[in-house]
């Protein structure tokens, strides 16, 4: 039996129209990432049954939850869905334990429900705080209760709407690690939406990029971050180095392009025409600094450092390659600084890592 979700929905009422197809397997987190207003929350509300799409279907664990053509539309109460809301939506009139036990109503008697609730609270490390009311809990603790409550429903689909946006950074890191650990023990499909790319990279076994109500691309995390489908997706994923290039040669394995007079080679199975104008993209962490006295490297460019930014352990360097209009951004660990002698205004040699240089077409939607 398939424990995942398959859905294709069209929804045009409300402030953000959503039209997309999505599938997620059971176990592991699928992250839908996109800027605010891209329709992520609307998507979750549709899946939970809080909004009714105009068309399409939603199938979870081989069960139809919604099917426009067959007139099926299960109410939220009938869908086994666990939802963690952005502000957690804990019931202020109930203790943490009663909040969680609420998910067990109608399934078992009150005593058993509270017992089960205590078990779920223990899962999220909230033992000892179960009698506290939401107003007596910190942001991180509220989030844990909200997750426990959603899990207590024993859902076939777990939905998390920006679950870390309301806590500070230190707590956020901890909660993310805990969620990752917790998700490994879950059978059901888990869909988390966020605008945070780092969060998507950290949590998403599968990542989907959402923009203006549609999914530009969905796939394995590496696929999405290293090989975005088009320039639009690359920009949304903050690829940063997106260089206009012209195809010089292509043999189905290695493609050589010319950018700013420099020949760059990329390993790709994608087919491009010689002479075609495309884009070469590479993430800053995949642009490698070359020692000043080192031998020449593949895809090497040289230029002048224009800016340096220190990001706590990492250095972000912008440099202007000779003869190019675009700046190239690269990132490396701070401890490498003395070895490579990188300084603002000084020359720099860098290599665009061939295995990670990604070639792509413009795409349909221009930002």
């Amino acid at each position: 039996m398939d424990v995942g979700i398959a859905a294709r929905v069209e929804y045009s009422r409300g402030p953000r129209a959503v039209s997309l197809a999505l599938s997620a397997a059971g176990g592991g987190i699928s992250v839908v990432v996109g800027p605010s207003g891209s329709g992520k929350s609307t998507l979750l509300r549709i899946l939970a049954g809080l909004l009714t799409p105009d068309k399409g279907y939603i199938q979870v664990r081989d069960q139809p939850w919604f099917d426009h053509s067959k007139g099926i539309d299960l109410a939220p109460q009938q869908r086994r869905v666990g939802m963690v809301f952005q502000d957690y939506a804990l019931f202020p009139n109930m203790s943490a334990l009663d909040n969680v036990a609420f998910a067990r109503r109608g399934r078992e008697d009150r005593r058993q429900a509270r017992k089960a609730a205590a078990r779920f609270l223990a899962k999220v490390h909230m033992e000892g705080l179960q009698d506290r009311y939401p107003r007596e809990l910190s942001g991180g603790q509220k989030q844990r209760v909200a997750v426990a409550r959603a899990l207590a429903r024993e859902p076939d689909l777990l939905l998390l709407d920006e679950p870390f946006s309301a806590v500070d950074q230190v707590v956020r890191r901890k909660l993310r690690e805990e969620l990752l650990e917790l998700s490994a023990s879950l059978q059901c499909a888990v869909i988390l939406v966020t605008h945070d790319l780092q969060e998507a990279a950290m949590l998403g076994q599968q990542v989907g990029v959402m923009h203006r109500g549609s999914l530009l691309q969905m796939g394995a995390r590496e696929e999405i971050f290293y090989r975005p489908a088009d320039v639009m997706a690359a920009r949304l994923l903050d690829m940063r180095n997106i260089l206009p290039a012209e195809v010089v040669s292509a043999d189905g394995r290695e493609t050589v392009v010319r950018w700013a007079g420099t020949l760059l080679s990329a390993y790709t199975t994608q087919r491009f025409q010689v002479g075609e104008r495309i884009w070469a993209g590479i993430r800053p962490e995949h642009v490698l600094v070359v020692r000043r006295d080192g031998p020449r490297r593949p895809n090497e460019v040289s230029g002048t450092v224009s800016r340096m930014l220190f990001l706590g352990g990492q250095v972000q360097v912008s440099f202007q390659p000779d003869g190019a209009e675009e700046e190239v951004s690269l990132e490396f660990s701070e401890h490498l600084l003395p070895r490579f002698q990188v300084e603002t205004g000084k020359p720099l040699r860098a290599s665009l890592w061939r295995e990670r240089l990604h070639l792509m077409r413009q795409g349909t939607d221009e930002a």
Partner: protein, 226 residues
């Protein structure tokens, strides 16, 4: 000369209690609907609801008197079912008071329900609670203070009404003569002592009610009413 006959007090209390009870039952679902509806009729319904706040009580009373009269369909219907007239009866007073105090019960409830995070209800639904169960377990407990405010205000406002009662209920001692009418009567008869007694009672009562409402608001750090 002081207050010797306490009947007007009992009638006032009875009228206010019955009215408050009926109003809470009606106002709760109505306020819920008002807070959540996206109907285009909402402004119209809101305006109608708030009308008794600005209308001279005599206007409301006059129309109610006409509607309750033995020539009107309502009056006729009432007469045929209950065997007595609606106008100048305690029942007529209750009906009139319900209309007159309606906004005082609805407005606090509506604002409390509207202030509730909508996600609370959605959370309850996704957790399997029916709409009714969500209403009782999530909405009601979270608007309990406003429920008290609504009850207290409706009660106090009904105790204090005069114009509508005079028009619809008349001044029948032992049946429709409430405190405010009794005061009017005493003043007409130049019995200032008795008028003083009743007036002081209403003054203190009204002040205490408002004090209680505002003190409750202060404890919650929230305005539930004006």
């Amino acid at each position: 000369m002081t207050v010797s006959d306490f009947t007007p007090l009992w009638i006032s209390l009875q009228l206010a209690s019955v009215t408050t009870g009926i109003l809470l039952l009606l106002a709760l679902p109505f306020a819920y609907w008002l807070a959540h509806t996206r109907s285009r009729m909402r402004p119209l319904v809101e305006a109608l609801t708030a009308l008794p706040l600005v209308l001279p009580p005599t206007v409301l009373g006059f129309y109610l008197l006409v509607a309750f009269g033995s020539q009107s369909p309502l009056g006729k219907g009432w007469q045929s079912v209950f065997g007595g007239p609606l106008a100048f009866s305690f029942e007529g007073l209750v009906l009139a008071s319900c209309l007159y105090s309606f906004p005082f019960a609805v407005l606090p409830l509506r604002s409390a329900i509207a202030q509730m995070e909508p996600e609370l209800l959605e959370a309850a639904w996704t957790l399997g609670a029916s709409k009714l169960a969500a209403f009782f377990h999530v909405v009601l407990p979270n608007i309990r203070y406003s429920l008290v405010t609504a009850a207290v205000l409706a009660f106090a406002h009904t105790i204090g009404e005069f114009g509508v009662v005079l028009m619809v209920g008349g001044n029948i001692p032992g049946r429709t003569q409430v405190i405010s009418i009794a005061i009017y009567d005493h003043v007409e008869a130049l019995e200032y002592g008795a008028a003083h007694g009743w007036s002081a009672l209403l003054l203190v009562f009204s002040f205490l009610v408002l004090l209680a409402v505002y003190a409750m608001d202060r404890r919650r750090g929230q305005r539930s009413w004006m």
